[in-house]
Symmetry: C2
DNA sequence: ATCGCGAGCGTTATACTATAACAAAACAAG
DNA sequence: CTTGTTTTGTTATAGTATAACGCTCGCGAT
């Protein structure tokens, strides 16, 4: 029998690998590739891409990290309270990734989802351009 | 002096490689990877990934094809009249990709863009889930 | 205790995606 | 024709992701 989880589901604490990877993501304002992360967490004992990918998969499932499709990279979640959709503004010059919680952006998607005969599992919304700092100067 | 284009910019006809790649995309209702495409256009004389990627780059620049970030794949454009944003509904079961021209989906993005101090270059909006055919049965 | 099973982790190897770098050929101007 | 410019072909390599397998650990059954 698989390990019995007593009540509903305890979140189960993060393993050493997950903690190391999440730490690396939190320290960065830009998205990091799995191999970038690997370079940074070698000290913590991770030695192969698989370990990083496994940790990332768990973190993403829990909503503690997000995958940025247009960069083949990952970021730590900055809006832990959100369930479901996430959106990102990505600066093409400095690489900064800002997680958008803007309801004005997300509500229309929910509305569309209600009207369309399409069972949504996940939405990717990534806006690329220049952040104020990079555009202004 | 670089080749002078007489008036504004003539679209310039597609080369053999672009035509072959675009044909492969149009024949498919799912997104195709560059290597998938390569397998299909070997007959037409393309022999290396670079050639496919170059053709894809030109097609995307012209708006005749789109990259689907969440699949590392490409589709032919089905709404040639659209300028700017494109959005996609992707079935995770059958792989069908539908290009969404729905103004209800796109207008909020334009609105957000106007209000935010962020200079948008490109928007990726990909909705993953089950298409009616795959969800219904 | 200890045996057996299943889940997860570490490790190696490999598949898939994308681009760099250079050679050859096509094209336009003079 | 000659030369500079641009495109196309070719080879090699970089970057991203997963498959496969064996080991260990924790837990329940004997
Ligand atoms: Zn988040
Ligand atoms: Zn910036
Ligand atoms: Zn289109
Ligand atoms: Zn389907």
């Amino acid at each position: 029998m698989p390990t019995l989880t007593p009540t509903g589901d305890e979140p189960a604490p993060l393993g050493r690998n997950e903690q190391a990877v999440l730490g690396a993501l939190r320290r960065s304002r830009a998205a990091r590739s799995a191999y970038d992360i690997l370079d940074e967490v070698r000290d913590a004992g991770l030695k192969a891409p698989t370990q990083v990918y496994r940790a990332l998969e768990k973190l993403v499932k829990r909503g503690l990290a997000h995958r940025i499709e247009s960069l083949n990279g990952f970021v730590a979640c900055r809006h832990p309270q959100d369930q479901g959709f996430a959106a990102f503004a990505i600066c093409t010059r400095c690489g900064a990734v800002r997680e958008l919680a803007d309801e004005a952006l997300i509500a229309p998607l929910r509305h569309w989802a209600g009207a369309e005969p399409f069972a949504i599992e996940h939405v990717t919304l990534e806006v690329r351009g220049l952040c104020p700092a990079c555009a202004g100067g």
